[in-house]
């Protein structure tokens, strides 16, 4: 007879496994720190799961992680990841878990050689009948490359030690099918951070999540709100962490979680190779995005940045380009400025255009050898290989301190300036003769903490349009 256990109704972090830099040796002290950090907000922990890089751990290391977790958890449940490609190894890991005193084992669908459903059933059956410990099945097609088939789960749910299934697929049609077929016999836990709320609303009992070591209290709130039937509050809570959850699920996994924890002051060292701490699954740009999101939800303190939008006489704002008001007047350079957007999304664009043979031509060429470190100029493009004409540089007025900040300029602002130029070509504001004879430089100021690329892009486009219109209308009036 299958059994239902009470502890599945809760929030469980799938703990990362910390490794020392250089040596990749298990860092036990860091692991203890991590558990102590999580424990007040969670119902228990999961060791050596997917997020814990289980497939890179020796059997001894997995046992050690479990022992530490049991010592630290003061009686809260500890679920031991016991996944393996082959059945014999999975049984050995399960026996270790039982001997150490784990609450339950989490066993992933056997991977790599793609056994048949028959083989998959036998794998779980052999484990369940060899070791008397509650067993949580684990579906994660993203790494196993196959689903644990519902038909197999239907039969496995009859085994007396099988108490639950963790579904990390994020595929709610599968989750709902499981609830329909086995929900009365075993508990389903959601393992995909992006769909916690809909999965809970659909009837899953609890969750095992990578992000539950970063913001466990958010998940406790979502769990509580759904239990109370307060869907509006649950949605709000889930939405606050939607982007971070997406990054953890899709753009870096445990590596991204380690990066986030490091930003929060919990150094978890490096992942084991072949994973890279950054620059592999976790892009540099994404890492910068994580930091910003952690700042937004209050997990990381926001550094104060002093800055201001350029003001005063427009003709005197191009000094960084070595263009003076006198040169503007002497060489009939066209200038214009535009501002749009509110608060963090405010954009100011100061634009200068003129002949290739004027000092602006010199300035244009010089900027591509970046005389101003941290304010590198880029050729303005609608998309790669679609450069605008007249040739236009987009240049930030503030030092770009990190990739995330740079991405607000080199993505949304570059496109905004490019679109404004193309619009002006279409409506005749910029004449076709200018495209061969002139160059332009757009000086762009955005708030260093801006996060909303969409609002920023719209504001940028409006500001750029204003700047182009003013520059070329002015030229027409005076010319």
């Amino acid at each position: 007879m299958p059994i239902k256990v009470p502890w599945t109704k809760g929030v469980y972090p799938a703990l990362v496994t910390p490794f020392l830099r250089e040596t990749e040796v298990l860092d036990e002290a860091a692991f203890r720190r991590l558990i102590r950090h999580c424990l007040p907000h969670v119902n228990g922990v999961v060791t050596s799961g997917t997020t814990g890089e289980c497939s890179y751990l020796t059997r001894g290391e997995q046992r050690r992680l479990l022992e530490i977790a049991l010592e630290e958890c003061n009686g809260k449940p500890v679920i031991a990841g016991c996944g393996a490609s082959g059945t014999a190894e999975a049984i050995a890991l399960a026996k270790d878990a039982k001997a150490a005193g784990a609450t339950a084992i989490l066993v992933v669908t056997p991977y790599f050689l793609h056994p048949s459903d028959k083989g998959v059933y036998q794998h779980f059956y052999d484990i369940a009948t060899s070791v008397d410990i509650p067993l949580v099945l684990y579906n994660i097609p993203q790494v196993v490359d196959r689903y644990l088939s519902r038909e197999v789960v239907e039969d496995l749910a009859d085994l007396p030690t099988v108490v639950g299934l963790k579904d990390s697929s994020g595929n709610l049609t599968y989750t709902m099918e499981l609830l329909e077929y086995v929900g009365d016999r075993i508990d389903i836990l959601v393992g995909h951070d992006e769909v916690v709320l809909p999965a809970l609303a659909g009837g899953v009992s609890g969750m095992i999540l990578a992000s539950a070591q970063v913001y466990p209290e958010v998940w406790q709130a979502v769990l509580q709100f759904v239990a109370e039937g307060n869907l509006a509050a649950a949605r709000k809570a889930q939405r606050e962490v939607q982007k971070l959850s997406r990054i953890f699920c899709r753009y870096g996994g445990g590596v991204a979680v380690k990066a986030a924890l490091a930003m929060m002051g919990l150094d978890m060292g490096v992942p084991r190779r072949p994973l890279k701490a950054v620059g592999g699954a976790l892009l540099h740009e994404t890492r910068a995005e994580i930091e910003l999101e952690l700042e937004r939800i209050g997990k990381v303190e926001t550094p104060e940045i002093e800055f201001s939008y350029p003001e005063g006489n427009l003709a005197e704002r191009f000094g960084a380009l070595e263009i003076t008001a006198a040169m503007i007047s002497e060489h009939r350079l066209k200038i214009g400025s535009g501002t749009a957007g509110e608060g963090l999304n405010r954009v100011q664009i100061d634009l200068i255009a003129g002949g290739k043979g004027t000092p602006l031509g010199d300035s244009y060429a010089l900027q591509l050898t970046y005389p101003q470190h941290g304010r590198e100029a880029l050729t303005t493009i609608l998309e790669p290989a679609l450069t605008v004409c007249p040739p236009t540089l987009t240049l930030p007025t503030l030092d770009q301190r990190n990739l995330r900040q740079a991405n607000m300029i080199y993505g949304p602002m570059q496109l905004a300036v490019a679109r404004a130029v193309a619009d002006a070509l279409e409506d005749g504001t910029i004449g076709r003769e200018a495209t061969q004879q002139e160059v332009m430089i757009a000086l762009v100021t955005v708030h260093p903490k801006v996060v909303d690329r969409h609002a920023l892009a719209l504001a940028g486009q409006e500001a750029a349009r204003g700047a182009v219109r003013q520059a070329f209308a002015h030229a027409r009036a005076s010319g």
Binding site: R246, K276, D362, L368, E376, E383, A385, V439
Partner: protein
């Protein structure tokens, strides 16, 4: 019971369909295309996938079939594309092709709603009742359904008017099963340009190919070499065109073929929307396709004289010009060209290039940069004639980044300059007067040295040509500004 006909063999181009500036069928250009191809082909295929049949009305499809029949004039067979999503429409189009005088119909598997294999079988059974020779057409890339060998074998052997199958899947195990089951009983054609040689060598009777619009003569050489048992000659030719055909098959085929033909001097316009210029067939693909069409052994774009007007000095240089290349190239103060090449992601090359007179803004920028902050910021002169300043777009922090930048990327940039001197775009006679600044991006997480070299070579080669020819044009910008997809515009 299907059967094998004598005429169903050899090289058949899957004809592109030209549309004019107002998106109407351009009959005159279509006739020119067919006339140009006829000497090198064994048949033609109007209204196929490359012919954008799915964007054409039934009337337009019939019209291109009629024109193909007129132009072929009995000299070569016309296999008309008559596929549609529903059985009723497919039967109707096949009947129309029959009355238009086509030789056979090429019938693609019914698409979109993904019928099951037995529904597919009965679809072709219904088409067979038209009483017109039909060629089955397997194209899982577009239809979403892949004939299994048992379905194909059943249709090929059971249906009375089936004369063969065109397999465009590129799935060689599937083709091998076809050879085992039906070779000699019906015609087996390959439709995937990248594996055509492998298919010929295994016994394919012929090929219906998108790239046969561009290089029918090379395909004839390959086909005949295999027929005569000279596999080594066929391999050399296939390798020569491999990159070209990969671009055609793996990007938006119709647009690729059209832009290729346009560059060869036969203006074809664009594919119909939603296929876009710079879409699936990316701008960097165009540059590569153009370079391939110039290559030795292909030679579809040849050199012609272009005048470089450097103010006080005018020279004439022979370059691989297209109809888009200006006759006279002036404005040598600053020329801006951008090049972009990939994949993979971390090894993408992005080159912002300036070309200009040594005594102009570009030359002065080089002087100032090298005299002042150049050394401190890793900016280096990497070539003397022409003078070329290499600037890293982002600060190089690790030893690995520095090695990839100064060794691999720099080598790629220099080789591109060397080849641009050889192909005439940077003529030897102006190398003392012009200088270049190459602002080059190497991602901090880049790993694959060979790709850093190769992508920077390509991006620089493209950037030089774009700078000199003044591309992209104002019209291109206006046409694409709304739909442009900037990769860094969006959050993860």
């Amino acid at each position: 019971m299907g059967y094998k006909t004598d005429w169903f063999k050899g090289i058949f181009p899957a004809l592109v369909t030209p549309f004019d500036g107002r998106d109407r069928l351009d009959e005159a250009t279509y006739r020119r295309l067919i006339r140009r191809l006829l000497p090198d082909v064994d048949g033609v295929v109007p209204a196929g996938t490359t012919g954008e049949f799915s964007y054409m009305t039934a009337e337009e499809r019939m019209r291109v079939i009629e024109i193909a029949v007129e132009e072929a004039n009995g000299r070569v067979p016309v296999v008309a594309g008559t596929g549609a999503s529903s059985t009723q429409e497919t039967v109707r189009l096949t009947e129309m092709a029959k009355s238009a005088g086509a030789t056979a119909a090429l019938v693609v598997a019914p698409y979109y709603l993904k019928p099951t294999y037995n529904e597919v079988y009965d679809h072709f059974r219904a088409v067979d009742k038209v009483g017109f020779p039909i060629v089955l057409y397997n194209l899982p890339q577009c239809t979403g359904t892949h004939f299994r060998w048992w379905t194909a074998e059943g249709m090929l052997l059971d249906l009375e008017h089936v004369i063969g199958i065109k397999d465009t899947s590129g799935d060689l195990p599937f083709m091998a099963a076809l050879f085992e089951k039906v070779r000699g009983k019906v015609g087996i054609f390959v439709g995937h340009d990248e594996v055509a040689l492998a298919a010929f060598a295994s016994g394919a009777d012929g090929a219906i190919l998108a790239s046969a619009n561009l290089i029918p003569d090379v395909w004839q050489r390959i086909y005949r070499a295999v027929q005569s048992g000279d596999l080594e000659a066929a391999r050399q030719d296939q390798q020569r065109i491999q990159r070209l055909v990969r671009i055609v098959t793996q990007t938006a085929g119709p647009q690729a073929v059209k832009e290729g033909l346009t560059a060869m001097g036969l203006p074809m316009g664009n594919a119909r929307h939603p296929i876009m210029p710079g879409g699936g067939f990316k701008r960097e693909d165009y540059e590569e396709l153009r370079l391939q069409l110039e290559a030795s052994g292909i030679e579809k774009i040849v050199k012609r004289p272009v005048t470089y007007d450097l103010g006080g000095k005018r020279i004439v240089t022979e370059v691989f010009a297209t109809p888009q290349t200006p006759e006279v190239i002036g404005e040598w103060e600053i020329k801006v060209g951008e090049g972009f090449a990939g994949p993979p992601f971390h090894e993408l090359a992005h080159v912002d290039l300036l070309i200009g007179r040594a005594d102009g803004p570009v030359g002065r920028a080089i002087e100032r940069s090298t005299a002042n902050w150049g050394a401190e910021r890793g900016i280096k002169l990497i070539n003397e004639r022409p003078r070329l300043l290499l600037v890293p777009t982002v600060t190089l922090r690790s030893a690995k980044s520095k090695r990839l930048f100064y060794e691999e990327a720099a080598r790629g940039v220099n080789l591109a300059v060397q080849h641009s001197i050889e192909d005439g775009f940077l003529p030897d006679t102006v190398l003392d007067e012009i200088v270049l600044i190459a602002n080059v991006f190497v991602h901090p997480a880049a790993s694959i040295a060979t790709r850093i070299f190769g992508n920077n070579y390509k991006a620089t080669r493209h950037a030089i040509r774009k700078a000199i020819e003044g591309r992209p044009t104002v019209d291109e910008l206006i046409q694409e500004k709304a739909a442009a997809r900037h990769p860094f515009r969006y959050a993860p």
